[in-house]
Amino acid sequence: MAKEKSNTAKLDFKLEYAAAPESKSSAKINSKYDLFINGKFEKPESKKYFDTINPATEEKIATIAEANQTDVNKAVKAARTAYNNVWSKMPAKERAKYIYRIARMIQERARELAIIETMDGGKPIRESRDIDIPLAANHFFYYAGWADKLQYAFPNKKIAPLGVAGQIIPWNFPLLMAAWKIAPALATGNTVVLKPAETTPLTALKLAEIIQESDLPPGVVNIITGAGATGAAIVNHPDINKIAFTGSTDVGKIIQRAIAGTNKKATLELGGKAANIIFDDAPLDQAVEGVINGIFFNQGHVCCAGSRLFVQESVYNKVLQKLRDRIETLIVGDPLDKNTDIGAINSKQQMDTILKYLKIGEKEGAVMHQSQCSIPKKGYFIRPTLFTNVAQSSRIVQEEIFGPVLTIQTFRTDDEVIEKANNTPYGLSAGVWTDKGSKIFNLTTKMRAGVVWANTFNKFDPTSPFGGYKESGFGREGGLHGLGAYLK
């Protein structure tokens, strides 16, 4: 073949699609939301409210109640009463009917939920419409099916729920995480006190409305809002039997310390810094797509994002060139626009964190490649970013950035890349790209990560368990494993 002249020919992209924004009219949002306790929306005892804003416009969407210790007590008491009097006594197939009903109602209101998810969190409407909301409904459907078949799921085991579950969820997939947590808890006969993240409470509150309309017995699901202090009150509440937390490793450690010595069970799904590995025999164009999807999906606000790319040295120039051309075609902008690929960074705070890491990267001597696309003046936006000339010792390689930032390193042999990929405190996910089946099996058995994708990335399904090794947490959600985490 002709001699390789790397980085000579550069493609030129001038994308001009007319704006195609999703109308906000079908989304009904109240100006104020109270706490959902015992089947009713109640004013907070704290008498305090906070604002939730649209990160794409920096405009306020609604005010949200802030739950204090008294409110948490009320919610836990409602959950305990519902557990003792109703939910634990109800035949499993009756429980399943409610869960199915919630699943169907999510489907019926999918469009509204997608719009609100996008407005409150900044993720592109394409993702909330095609991934978040359908997947949330699927989790309810899946676990509804298990509710009256638990004896078959766990043969030779006495099936007994734990009691009241305290669930704290993050801001990156608000409704989906609520579904991951609530559906298996209900299917196994537990009751729930759930706290959504303070920057993205709206879809969980819309879910509270759905739950209310579904006639689920009062107190079975309680949804209370607030920030860290509210979460701490849930974690430390003596009448809670299980803590399910998804969020940062730092907070996960605090939770584990707090519940040490109690008989609370826990599942923690924490941070990640996934390796995505491209071998020279991989289908490169599809691998590049997978890398793009792996790091820029949901602005990189994904705990299993493929944020460390390892490319076999012999194809490094090719892959880098393809990546650089590909990021030029990504459209960053109004999350409600159907053409948008990368939406708004979730909050000012997260934006500052990411910008801090961009500075650290440059200071460490890494070379930064950003796309040239225009970004809106208002709102929190960051261009898709690649870093080359980085080392395992670079902070941007070691630490979770949680943004659209990819570091790229090279490797020569399988052993080298396995060692480098595992050389991290995290272990949530990994990706392998190769045409060779045996290489896939070798890598997947040696990768210390909860999920290893081969020739694809960021694929989720309710039937498949998800969770981490090492500082990425413990316990599994999804699939049969997810049921087991809510049984004695």
């Binding site: 073949m1 020919a9 164009d285």
Partner: protein, 308 residues
């Protein structure tokens, strides 16, 4: 001991090692292009570009001089309400019709493309294929659409295919050569990629999906595999190769999706009829119908659009 080599099969370039294609990945990516929303101004300019990229085609045994003349008239006057509408890119006919088409098109700027090399099967000796090609070129064809020998390709005789393309390229003289891979007979994306590489290195000016006689003809994933092959060739050599999906693209919406795919895979330099064509017969009328809808706000009956 290894056996003595009786027939040298050692050839460079070795096309048995073309890059591999992941079927799931390429189909997922192709689907993403269809999710781009194209409306208002970008739709209008896109539709006009589509018209300008069409190779208006008639390739039937029952073709007559009269039919070709009609087609040529249509190629130049797409719709009476739009005197300033662009013409199509070319009229695509059998070699025997080249002279008729050439005369009918005059100096309108619409090119004459001729299918040659024993189209559509390609089952003829090399000499016949060369004669076929030269006949079309001598009659005034601006472009030659040749077919590759799929049988030889599937037998692994890549160099036979390479040499044949190179020979026809030579016979083309100044005419631009489109190489039809007939992807429906190659079956796998790996094969499509391999055939694309062979065609480009052998001197193709265009690579083209299909004859239109075999199903499936052009699909978005197949076209994407070929566009990606063109991109890799460009990265390596800096030389641009043109692309022509043909057969099965009859709706404006589908055509716009192809333009999105072209734009996002190869960039704006390819966004003209020198570098991209649609091989289609019924697409033009659907585009005209859409243009009329954009102009008047209502869809019109198919009776208002001439069939040629």
């Amino acid at each position: 001991m290894i056996m003595a080599v009786t027939q040298t099969n050692f050839t460079i370039p070795d096309f048995s090692i073309s890059p591999k294609i992941d079927q799931i990945g390429v189909e997922e990516r192709a689907k993403r292009f269809t999710a781009r929303s194209i409306k208002t101004t970008s739709k209008l300019s896109g539709l006009k570009l589509v018209l300008n990229m069409i190779d208006l085609t008639t390739l039937e045994g029952k073709d007559t001089n009269g039919k070709v003349k009609q087609l040529c008239y249509k190629a130049q006057h797409l719709h009476n309400n739009y005197p300033d509408l662009p013409t199509v890119a070319a009229v695509c006919v059998y070699p025997s019709m080249v002279k008729v088409a050439k005369n009918a098109l005059g100096n309108s700027g619409v090119k004459v493309a001729a299918v040659a090399t024993a189209f559509p099967s390609g089952q003829a000796p090399k000499e016949v294929k060369i004669t076929d090609t030269k006949f079309a070129v001598d009659n005034g064809a601006d472009e030659i659409d040749m077919v590759i020998s799929r049988g030889k390709f599937l037998q692994g005789e890549y160099n036979f295919v390479f040499d044949e393309i190179a020979t026809i390229k030579e016979a083309c003289g100044n005419a631009r050569l489109k190489v039809i891979l007939e992807t429906g007979e190659l079956v796998t994306y790996d094969n499509v990629r391999k055939a694309s590489d062979i065609a480009m290195y052998a001197g193709a000016d265009f690579i083209k999906t299909s004859t239109g006689k075999i199903q499936p003809a052009a699909t978005m994933p197949v076209t994407l595999v070929m566009l990606e092959a063109i991109r890799d060739f460009y990265y390596k050599t800096g030389k641009m190769i043109a692309m022509k999906p043909a057969g099965g693209i009859s709706k404006s919406k589908a055509a716009l999706h192809y333009l999105v795919m072209l734009q996002e895979t190869l960039g704006s330099a390819w966004m003209s009829n020198h570098w991209f064509r649609f091989g289609a017969s019924s697409l033009a009328n659907d585009v005209l119908m859409q243009l009329e809808k954009e102009r008047t706000g209502v869809y019109q009956s198919a009776n208002y659009f001439s069939i040629d």
